[in-house]
Amino acid sequence: MLHIVNKSPLERTTLDSCLAAAQPGAAVLLIEDGVYAATRGNSAAAKLRAALGNLEIHVLAPDLEARGMAQSLVEGVKLVDYAGFVELVAQHKNCQSWL
């Protein structure tokens, strides 16, 4: 399944909630302020790196670029554009938005 997180990990705990529930093999998509979790130096980046072992993590590129963070993406995280976002939703059986 696909998990979507749209809040900054330093403002809200939605990323933690997502990572606690997500099952191995699941996909996570970070959008809006959620993209900060996948940027180098962010204090949440370590748990994201740890999660890369059994989760596929994607970041919505336009949201990353809009925030000036395109050069700071954590290694191993995949970038998607809006079409890729749609594709992810279509590929997975279901989807949980951690609002």
């Binding site: 705990t13 951690w98 609002l99």
Partner: protein
């Protein structure tokens, strides 16, 4: 009602009651889905566990107390209520504090149930 497709619908509640309208809106959706004979389950995670904390008294804030509605869910054959263990513990709550019978599960166990759903609705 005519025969239709029955879907496994999980309503995920992660907000405290009264501070926002989410908890009440979620209940509305649950009742509608149940009226259409869908297979509905409710999950309470994070701040959402406060929705089921026994003894809501809302007279003072002049807002409808919707807690009795949870007790009515069983009449609509909605009886799969799951509560996150870690969220209860972090808030000094236990299963005995819940206003209705629930099944307490870890976040990971809830995650497994999520995988089995046709539709997840987030509140």
């Amino acid at each position: 009602m005519s025969e239709g497709t029955v879907k496994k619908i999980m309503v995920v509640n992660r907000k405290a009651p009264y501070g926002t309208i989410y908890a009440l809106e979620s209940l509305e959706v649950v009742l509608i889905a149940a009226a259409f004979d869908q297979e509905v389950s409710l999950v309470f995670m994070d701040e959402g566990v406060y929705q089921l904390k026994k003894g809501h008294q809302t007279k003072g804030i002049e807002v409808k107390n919707f807690q009795p509605t949870y007790r009515a869910l069983d009449d609509y054959d909605v009886n799969k209520l799951y509560v996150e263990k870690e969220a209860l513990e972090a808030r000094g709550l236990s299963e005995e504090d819940m206003c209705v019978p629930v099944e307490v599960l870890s976040a990971a166990e809830i995650g497994k149930l999520m995988e089995q759903q046709d539709v997840l609705l987030s509140f």
